[in-house]
């Protein structure tokens, strides 16, 4: 194709720029290993730095922030002292004003599995999978409002404009399946904070998420060919485009991105077929539909998203994030932050729990049955926790000082509990895990050193973990 093969050399900086690479040492290393591939396609799979336990991540994001003490962090002391003063209650914790009086969990608690994990009765389905789950009970972060905390949780700090976990992972590892996007976000009502939560920030747009809106039945813009012309017509067009583009490129031998662009038409053409196939849940059996609760109004949307998530990771998609939408319960919370139980934790969580319980459990079961859980990590959690004292009579305010998330699948211990909040579930006190630590651990599981995955922007090498983060080795399987 090129007249002067020896001319395919990096121009001063533009080569790196065109291929979507910064000067991050890790990315540069992998770039040097597969220079030609990377020059054509920055999303080509890159070997991790060390053997990876996890290939794909599915994050079930509990938008609006569930209460730890009503879900996975059982606190008998809180149950006992309902209405009594919460020792150490800090009025700066929440977003509004709380009572300072303990509010016991309105749910019934039972132990499950061989691990004897306490789970509230919100999760009759998920509780069957507790022995797969690795609980981080001591999560904490800084921000106490939804969008800033969601940004902190996904991007490492609360300042907008930084890349999110999914973009960093895609940047570091590329993707296995070139016919599908590497990073997919699914939502119903857009979560508060919108694009900022899954931003590619200053990273090249190559690493940005594809968003699938459940309200539009996961339609991908521009994916469908214009109804006016058929495949043969388009193929003829594409063949002509390729021929003329090749002629054009041959006259500009130092311009490596022209080759990438020629290739991208072929990728687009393949994606045109691969993506609808990946999203086509009609191909799944009736039993699968039933398992995910697809026909139930209270969880059907989330069920469809979970099922699509499984189909995507099955096809090599690197990172999927689903923002849980709103249950049908109707409890005064707002659509873009469904779990936000300021007024009535019982009514709210009952409805939100129903929305996610069966589909999430089906996802775990399905992934396990297909052997995919050996390479996939499922994460369940929201942007912060809730206060152990009440807001109003029956609600809970925001609480970034202690909350639980769990992970299940590749690389982590099952039925394992790490870290703890105090006896009221109010503040993380032992083995605290900050967002940066969580990110360091996730990158580690993916075979990446969080201190070496860097990108140079405006004169500084940025990291997902900013200047902090320790891998939580204790939870690794």
């Amino acid at each position: 194709m090129f007249e002067h093969p020896d001319l395919i050399l990096p121009s001063r900086r533009s080569f790196l720029r065109q291929s979507g690479m910064g000067f991050g040492s890790l990315a540069l290393a992998s770039l040097l290993q597969g220079q030609a591939t990377a020059a054509v396609n920055p999303l080509a799979p890159k070997p991790p730095e060390f053997p990876a336990k996890v290939k794909s991540i599915i994050w079930l994001f509990m938008t609006g922030a569930p209460s730890q003490v009503d879900t996975w962090d059982y606190k008998p002391e809180l149950q006992k002292r309902d209405g009594q003063t919460l020792a150490g209650a800090d009025p700066k914790t929440g977003f509004f004003t709380t009572s300072g009086k303990c509010l016991k969990s309105p749910f019934a608690w039972k132990q499950h599995g061989e691990s004897g994990t306490w789970v509230s009765d919100l999760f009759p389905h998920l509780s069957k999978h507790v022995d797969k789950m690795c609980f981080l009970h001591s999560m904490h972060l800084k921000q106490n409002n939804h969008a800033p905390a969601s940004i902190e949780l996904m991007c490492g700090t609360n300042r907008p404009g930084l890349p999110s976990l999914g973009s960093w992972v895609t940047y570091g590892l590329g993707t296995e399946n070139q016919d599908l996007p590497a990073f997919v976000v699914m939502h119903e009502t857009r979560p508060r904070g919108d694009d900022q939560i899954w931003s590619a920030g200053f990273l090249p747009k190559t690493y940005q998420a594809l968003t699938l809106d459940a309200r539009r039945k996961e339609t991908i813009d521009n994916l469908a060919r214009d109804a006016k012309h058929d495949d043969a017509q388009q193929r003829a067009q594409l063949d002509l485009i390729r021929r003329l583009n090749q002629e054009h490129a041959a006259q500009r031998p130092t311009q490596t991105d022209l080759a990438a662009r020629i290739n991208s038409y072929e990728l687009a053409y393949r994606m045109q077929m691969a993506a609808p196939e990946a999203l086509d849940i009609a191909k799944e059996t009736a039993a699968t539909h039933q398992a995910y609760g697809l026909n139930q109004p209270e969880c059907g949307t989330f069920g469809r998203q979970c099922l699509i998530a499984r189909r995507l990771v099955e096809r090599g998609v690197r990172y999927v994030q689903i923002f849980a939408g709103k249950g049908v319960g109707g409890d005064g919370s707002v659509n873009d932050v469904p779990w936000d139980c300021h007024t009535d934790v019982e009514k709210n969580h009952r409805s939100c729990g129903q929305y996610v319980d069966q589909p999430a459990a089906a996802l775990l079961g399905d992934l396990a049955a297909r052997g995919l859980l050996e390479s996939t990590l499922v994460i369940w959690g929201g942007e912060f926790g809730r206060t152990s004292d009440s807001q109003g009579a029956k609600g809970r305010d925001h609480n970034p000082n202690g909350f639980t998330i769990w992970m299940a699948g590749a690389g982590v211990k099952g039925g394992f509990h790490f870290g703890a909040t105090d006896e009221f579930g109010y503040k993380a006190v032992t083995n605290k895990v900050h967002v940066n630590d969580l990110h360091a651990t996730l990158l580690h599981l993916l075979g990446l050193n969080h201190e070496r995955l860097t990108y140079r922007f405006n004169g500084r090498d940025f990291r997902l973990t900013d200047v902090a983060g320790e891998v939580v080795h204790d939870i690794l399987a």
Partner: protein, 1029 residues
Amino acid sequence: MHAWLTLVAWLCSVSLVGAQTPSAAGHQFFEQKIRPVLVQHCYACHSEEAAAKKKLKGGLLLDSAAAMLTGGDSGPALVPGKPAESLIVQAMKFDGYEMPPTGKLSDAIVADFVKWVELGAPDPRQGKKPAVAKREIDLVAGRKFWSFQPLTNVTPPTHAKIPASAGPIDRFVLAKQLEHGLRTNVRTSKEKLIRRAYFDLIGLPPTPEQVQAFVDDESSDAFAKVVDELLASEHYGERWARHWLDAARYAESGGYEFDGFRPGAYHYRDWVIRALNADLPYDEFVRMQLAGDKLQPNSYDGAAAVGFLVAGPYPGQITAKTVEGIRYDQLDDMIMTIGGSMLGLTMGCVRCHDHKYDPIPQQDYYGIAASLGKTVHGARSYDRDPEATRAAQEKHRLEHEKFVAAVKQFAATELPKRFAAWQKTELPKQPDAPRWQTFAAVEADAERSFLKLLPAGVIAHDGSVTPGTTLRRRRGAGQVPSAEVYKIQVRTHQKNIAALRLDAFTDKSLPQRGPGLNNDGSFQLLELTVTAAPLDPAAKEKPVVLKLKGVFAGAEDKDQPIAHAVDGKPETAWVVKTTAKKDNAAVFEIDGGLPGFASGTQLTFELRFRDQGLGRFRLAMSVEPNPATWAGDFVAQHLGELRAILAANKNQLPPTLHEAAVAWFSPFDAEAGKVYGAMQTHAAAAPRGNLTEVYTTIAGGQDVFLLRRGEVANKAGKAEPGVLQVLSRGNANVTTAKVSTATSITKTPSEPVDPRVSLGEWMTDVDYGAGPLLARVIVNRMWQHHFGEGLVGTPNDFGAQGDAPSHPELLEWLAGELVREGWRLKPLHRRLLLSEVYQQSDQVDPANAKIDPSNRWLWHHKPQRLEAEMIRDALLAVGGTLDSKMYGPSVLDDSPRRSIYLRVKRSELIPLMTMFDAPEPTQSIGERISTTVPTQSLVLMNSPFVRLQAEKLAQRIRTSGDPSLAGAVDRAYQIAFARSPSNGERSQMLAFVKQQQAALGADTPANADKALVEFCHVLLCLNEFMYVD
């Protein structure tokens, strides 16, 4: 003091551990209780070992006695004898710091540390002082870095092999090429050159006619003419504003929680376009953006220009808990943007510590922060043309005299006979007045709002003005306050008025249906004052302020009742909350009644509100006793007035009152109604001025403190306004701790100068301030946008971590040239474009490529992919559908306007723009990344937008010029690529069209058209379309 404490500690230690020697006892305590904890919980991040592993945190070592006393970034870790002042104890108590980060240690351990510090912190560990002692910034050495030096005079090089005709830019470039043994390239073709110049300067493709005219123009200055035309084109500003808006992180929303839209933010974008088109000198361009609001107070231009400062993200929900941190985030946003865009310096890291690579101490950062301390985000309204408003108001006033004259004329000629007839036949048939008579206001004026008169005496809100706005009104110009005051004037001839009444109405036009104008529909009436004066200005009676008593309210809070509105205390209010959500009314009894003046009475109602006023209201009176009820019907006051006049004048209408009677008579007589109505209608149309809301700076702000480690809880004294010392010269002060203001460097101000004005002066001062760097950074940006890459490859980083310039002398010469040209950019553009290096071919000489594969020495022109905005604009231009309307509120991408006008909402960026690498507008961006991803190809292949442009292009080529298919193909190439196809291309395309037509079936004109669309679609998908050679 210290010695005394040590003695006390020594005594304590003696008593504590009995007979052992003090140091031995203390050391034993340390070994048993302290060292194990330090080793287990602290050393991982605070020891020499951690430092060796690059794990050291906060610059703090805890593994030797000396290191603990020296401390880290936040100061000494302990003060022997003083646990309360010892950071290590505070941190362990989770007071301010929270250490260790994994969780609080037990109370017993914390108590041990308290005791240990009380003991004087006995510590046997030897160890030296921390090796990682804080790096002291050496400003004298720092000033020697290439980019921080003063501008030097550079002479373009001469060389036997450089032609005498070569211009200065080419001399610099050729000298480097000669030095490296590179061959000079040829000029590019005229077709390629004009396409390059069009995209570079105005961001649009040339039309085939423009290309042809240039090709046909054989004069030596043909290209100069094209460049001059383009620089004179208004599209130039639209193209180059986009570059600057990237650097200015321009967006129209706040980001964060609710990403609140800022309807007035686009004025900054428009200001940048206008400034560039007017070739506003760059130094002035910079000064205006830093302090336009101070340099041109109360001007639209000044307010729009400082949109630069406030374009950053800003949380939508702020509480007392978060406000201070957010304030410093906001300052940081401004400083980072100023640093990156104007100075090419990375400043963000200096918030927490001295710059690690550049000579910028934290104190300089906080000096700039203090200069920006009084800069607060907000919206204000501006009259964009106050002179025009004043003239229009004067014109209106003159015109109004005609309407007044008509009323007078009617009063003198028509009224007497018409009234007499009506008085005789109609008046007796009129009903008696009910209890309440509504006033018809003569004047309704307000501080924050405009009021209009509706039928039936209702006074309605007709738009607000943002507080802080300077507004010209009838009573003169003034700043709009935040508290509303309504002044309503009414008149009456009736006597013995017993009570007044205020009705407040709900309406769907009001926030939460009202009745108040506050966001929640509430209002708080601080004070109602009613003054009565004789109507006849010559009358001797004095005006009186009525004594009112609130006797009834439709809704009132028992703590904030209606009585508060008439208690004479401006701090108490009658508060009507949102819960009311219905019409409301208040009745005020006049203490002793109002007898009324002989000539008639003028009543002035003054309603003072705490914030916003009422949306719809009405004033009424009662002449009946026992007014403490709000029941009863209403009628307009007119009939009552006529009857009162007649009663007082022996049943006659006296000539002195003819004119006044026109108003009262107008409802009952068509002619009176017409002439009086015409006057009222005209009065209501008084020009207000064209008020525009601008997102800009508003009053406010607080002192700024230097924050250790950037933490608001860790203040180290108030910061004074200052600048970067390393970029300041010629003044002894610059090496001292506090540079007061830049102005003090250049001149002694006679009055205090706003610190932002000083910042702007320092920034643009070539001799004493940052002017040299400012010039280097902007000429580098210009080079970058014309050549694809800057002479300095890191346009936002001219510091030690950035790239060194490839052609330092050329950069220096260009910077000097900019200053010599009075900082005007257009002459420099002209110089750049008329250079041979700009006009050279993109052809690659293999020999050159071997020597310099990266084209560092500029031996060929590098093709560039169009930026997102240009791709969309070019598609619209080629389709012939581009709407070239300029300026104004932003639009969504269904509009055919240029992409610079697309909405930039941070959480919902336009997908087509981000897909083609438009940056996140959160930080200053100097250079866009160009990515290639399949979704871009999907857009070109399948999007309805691209398809539509292909259809439009097909229409264009079908309906104009050569009607043959080959002619159409040629024309399409000329429109899309500014060139004709080669024979090979033409035949391939013709074959393709025929093949497509065959695939469509019948050989009909409709199918021929469709096949042509497919061909046009192919053209738009070609790389040639989105690359410029």
